[in-house]
Symmetry: D2
Subunit: 143 residues, 4 copies
């Protein structure tokens, strides 16, 4: 299992709720995005985004998201979600997510999303703060 | 249909989303509470709660909720939710909800909930403002 | 914490998903019912309902549900849900749920629901099978 | 509004539920995918997928999904979702979705997804049935 999540510095684990399944008796497609969202928030916490947002008004906005479904999740199962950051631009970066079924030891879905820095006080895009860029690079083990 | 909702002064209508069904191929139980919540918010708007809350800091808190399931909803269907207020106390009142399947012309569920007035600025219960009490009584056609 | 759940033979634990919070920045009301549902399913598994349903066509239907909100849950938190069965009738029984915030060591909500035995093959209510009644009593430590 | 959905042969409309908003007081990201799912199901119905699946065992599977967020939805609003099919391959096709805020007369999000034909009886991919290909082309106004 762990090798399926090698290279993802932030990993969370949680059980599937029975009620997350839909009429096809698999976890509904949109729930994978909920799982990725939980991974994203956990990453934000580890990188200090939430504190930075409170003191500065600059926080993250999800600009886009995508998901490839590999293996259908179902109840009962416990899911691991790994999150990592790839390319970092001036005002944005790309996050990659991987959801793993611990019951089947398989990748359930791979996702990605573009996060844009946003100044909520001035209601416009902002450069990615240097402090957060450094925190991300430290988490990712990059110089 | 309309007679099923006689006595409910606020009625909303919306379609069932396919994804609201669960593995038993009916609308999942908790979604009925989502529907009632939408009815409650519509009622609050009609009774001026939201504006009152913004100017005074006193707003509603849901203290309890209950639902009797009568007929299972499924996709496709359009749902009507009727909302009315029953007993009004010093600091609380009881709301009654009814969800109706328009496809089957049947009551899908009956619900109720106790709403308590809460002063969000002072973080404690508050008497139900006279203005809101009057608005509710007017909506309900009571003297 | 454990004393808050004394007398509940089936207990599950899971984290709050950030996205389960609503615009009031607390876990949305209907999500408590999702948590209770997960507790109910866990209880059904422990009492052998799911296997019994597959072999006989007789399974559980949720006839009603109710929830008293005691303390607002928010992200981040881990929730414990305890489930127990109270009164058992000829064709139905009452389940009690308790959701506990492990972060605050407080009861977040107490719930209950009536479960009716249903013969899915014959599409009508059924007596509660003796085997399941015994399994429940064993779980509950009743003679 | 209508020009924002020009070229989308299947359009559905529904209100935002208050409870679909998250702690940022906008409709939560995953709900956009729920809206697209409702558009997809409506398209499937119009193209005869559901009937075809019942008689043949060949139905659609969502292989991937993506969403670009353009304008944040919030309660109250009514949403239009347009759905169209683009490229059609031997065993798959691409669907495009657009969610429009009727309150603001703006595109809220654009999405897409790859749908693969799947034989549920034989548990493997299947060629896209000619009947469905023709139905899609007819809906899309293609020769």
């Amino acid at each position: 299992m762990q090798e399926l999540l090698a290279g993802y510095p932030v990993i969370i684990e949680f059980p599937v709720h029975w009620g997350e399944m839909d009429a096809f008796q698999h976890v509904n497609n949109i729930i994978y995005l909920r799982y990725f969202e939980s991974g994203r928030i956990a990453y934000f916490e580890r990188a200090g985004f939430m504190e930075y947002m409170e003191k500065s008004g600059v926080g993250p906005i999800l600009a886009s998201t995508a998901c490839k479904f590999k293996f259908p999740l179902a109840y009962p199962d416990r899911v691991l979600v790994g999150t990592r950051v790839g390319e970092i631009g001036d005002d944005r970066f790309t996050m990659y997510y991987r959801a793993v079924s611990t019951r089947h030891d398989k990748i359930a879905a791979d996702g990605e999303g573009v996060i844009v820095a946003y100044n909520y006080l001035e209601q416009r895009k902002a450069p990615l703060p240097e402090e957060l860029r450094m925190n991300i690079n430290r988490l990712e083990g990059r110089a």
